[in-house]
Symmetry: C3
Subunit: 103 residues, 3 copies
């Protein structure tokens, strides 16, 4: 069974996070999206310092879907270059592994 | 010294997250629980689409306790199949590594 | 290109999280800080049980800067031994990898 994986990606607001998560659920690229509100982001992008109010989203997927998820998320996201960080998960209970492995 | 590890698990509310975290601290399976409030989760489980208001919890443990933590968390959690994601941490300052390695 | 990496570290309040993040951006040790408010932490430290209201911060960096970031964060942080957890990221879209690889 494929390992589970997590993806972290900020969104400008909850409405967009919800819409994108729904697409990804429909397309069976994720099994769950945990949306964390009220996030403040400080960053430097192309030499410019910036700050924005965002929501953070942790997506649950399988390791074998990582690249497809990153590609589709980039297409669906309103930012031209959304910051998407994905990593494999060493272990999860069988029920979690089966849930994500079944994607 | 064992590597440090993190575990992410949603809970239906803060009260349950606090109660379970206290048990896990008592049983020396974690050294810390970071409880993040106001989380919205969109998911698909056994073919059914769902949404719930939850809190997200990041538990700090050691890599060698990963499986025991996952097992005990599953027993203590009110969900029949809580989604538990655990991963090892590549590096941490010595003080953090000793703190978690001492579990 | 160096892999991307994430670092998780709690702070006593948003003001300190912002100040430290700004330093780390100035010193090109991170490209972004996602500050998550309203966090409750339950922990055991040196045999004492404790609870505190904190903010959680997820820093985005590159794998090759991991140790320097951990060292500098420890120096800048108000806690004597801040809990810093760092891990490499398996994959990210090219734009994210270039952004962090350029640090």
């Amino acid at each position: 069974m494929s390992k589970a994986a997590l993806a972290w990606c900020p969104f400008p607001n909850e409405a967009e996070a919800r819409a994108v998560a729904t697409h990804l659920l429909d397309e069976k690229l994720i099994a769950c999206a945990n949306i964390l509100p009220g996030m403040v982001s400080l960053y430097e992008w192309e030499g410019e310092r910036g700050e924005s109010n965002e929501v953070g989203v942790l997506f649950k997927t399988s390791a074998q879907l990582r690249d497809s998820l990153a590609k589709r998320l980039t297409q669906l996201h309103s930012y031209a270059s959304p910051a998407i960080m994905l990593w494999d998960v060493e272990a999860a209970p069988e029920t979690t592994a089966e849930w994500l492995g079944g994607l």
